[in-house]
Amino acid sequence: MATEHSKAAARIMIAPAVFVLLVWMLVPLCMTLYFSFADYRPLRATFEPWIGFDNYVSFFTSSSFISSVVTTLQMVGGILCITIVGGVLLALLLDQPMFGQGIVRILVIAPFFVMPTVSALVWKNMFFNVDNGLFSYLYAALGLQPYDFLSQAPLLSIIVIVAWQWLPFATLILLTAVQSLSSEQLEAAEMDGAPGLSRFWYIILPHLSRAITVVILIQTIFLLSIFAEIFVTTNGAFGTRTLTYLVYQRVLESQNIGLGSAGGIIAVILANIVALFLMRIVGKNLDN
């Protein structure tokens, strides 16, 4: 059906998209790779084009690298736990018969569309603030001492903010998966007298496993580069400096381009490991 002529036309039509993405991917990445082997500190007017793996060695051996990786893992792990567990429960809940289902769905999904700087600032000031935040009133009403969330539990505070933004995403995707579960299968299990919990473990959860995997992978890729929420709440202080944030500070704040670029390359490699798994699942799906 596809003639040689139409194939040539197809190639021309694809070319612009491939070209811009190729340039976008290769040019800056090659520059980063090049800088990562250089001693480049513009503020001190230092530029030594080749110092071997020195930047990588000092990036890897610095204590801030280890702590940033730990922080990143805690942050991403915490957010994933909340959004996956909460998402599964919410998806099952939203699948139940109820009045005004559409409206509840709208309410639950809303946080995903709030821009990161807005949600971070609203939480920071109107909820976490120790003097005027709502949580302080709540604590006082319960007869407890007000708690300064962002300075005493900064990591947890950011986890809460970001989890609030991503819970709708997990819920929406898991709800799509829940709704594709055949009700006959569930009814048969119910007839056989399987209690609710074992129906959940042996039928619902296995059915959701693929969707859960996809949610974990996609969220991980986005969560590895959380930036705005840290930028407006703690600015990387109090143990909230993730790998992304560390690289940003090295590059733009202390202007140690060589060191920061080495960190950037490490971040790229780590993200690619996650991406590889995701691509495999997506690729398999493309075949059917």
């Binding site: 800056p28 520059m31 990161p116 700087t117 109107m126 009700s183 705005a228 493309l286 075949d287």
Partner: protein, 276 residues
């Protein structure tokens, strides 16, 4: 319906769902309410819920006294511009891959997707350098191009999945009737592709509007969109909650409404067809 659902059960589920739904929505609701309070009422102890003198003074204040109009204009230009540019580049590519698939189509699609996985910090400094070199740091054109590039894989991917649903038989029938490529695209394909293109545009505007890495780091004032503008409110002290709320509501309201219309597209656009 094999299972009989008792009304009592349904009411129970309704109450529980509404409760949790309102809890999740609460920060947005609270921001909405606060935006109509005076600054004193906004930090009143105990908090005031509905019974206060509703005022729109915060909205007029934010609109008149700050850079808000400029930021809003920038957001609109950047979100629409990057989306349109992306669509212009992506429609031919997605069309070709959907209707004239070759041996490497799948690889090209996956490769495009892989560019989306590139962490932004990995290319931060080169981008700053390139922007400086061309003298376009803090310019709308830079933001339009960068946001187009980071969202292009999603646009291509979404359009591809929509185009693939268009039955090929129709094209063949049109060809039999003597339609050439031009009329094929214009009269047969375009009407069928328009809904998919519209949903793609919608989702992409949302993504571009909320992007908060490049917009914060590569703009200062003249090209700063709302994400950056709102970030400038991060001073720690109180007495500005009402204005912050008003600025926030204006920044999120249009996207919230668009988002509610694009729930289904969201699943398709952000899972790359891995969840159906």
């Amino acid at each position: 319906m094999a299972r009989a659902i008792t009304t009592r059960k349904k009411i129970m589920w309704t109450a529980l769902s509404w409760g949790i739904g309102l809890l999740i929505f609460f920060p947005i609701l609270w921001t909405f309410l606060t935006s109509f309070k005076s600054e004193a009422t906004a930090i009143a102890d105990p908090p005031v819920w509905f019974l206060f003198d509703w005022t729109t003074v915060n909205y007029t204040d934010v609109l008149e006294r700050s850079n808000y109009p400029l930021a809003l204009t920038n957001s609109i230009i950047i979100a629409l511009g990057s989306t349109l540019l992306g669509i212009i580049i992506a429609v031919p590519a997605a069309w070709a891959m959907a209707f004239v698939p070759g041996k490497r189509t799948k690889d090209v699609l996956l490769w495009m997707l892989s560019t989306k996985m590139l962490p932004a910090v990995g290319v931060l400094y080169p981008l700053v350098l390139i922007a400086k070199y061309f003298g376009i740091l803090d310019s709308r054109i830079l933001m339009v191009v960068i946001l187009m590039l980071i969202n292009l894989p999603i646009i291509v991917w979404m359009l591809y999945t929509y185009f693939r649903e268009i039955p090929v038989d129709i094209l063949e029938a049109a060809r039999m009737d003597g339609a050439n490529l031009k009329s094929e695209i214009l009269y047969v394909l375009t009407p069928m592709a328009l809904p998919g293109i519209a949903s793609t545009i919608l989702l992409n505007i949302i993504l571009a509007w909320n992007e908060a890495f490049w917009t914060i780091l590569l703009t200062t004032v003249s090209a700063a969109p709302l994400t950056k503008f709102i970030a400038s409110f991060s001073a720690p002290e109180g007495l500005f909650y009402a204005k912050l709320s008003a600025a926030s509501m204006m920044a999120i309201a249009p996207i919230l409404i668009m988002g509610w219309f694009s729930q289904k597209q969201l699943v398709r656009g952000l899972t790359f067809g891995a969840v159906k």
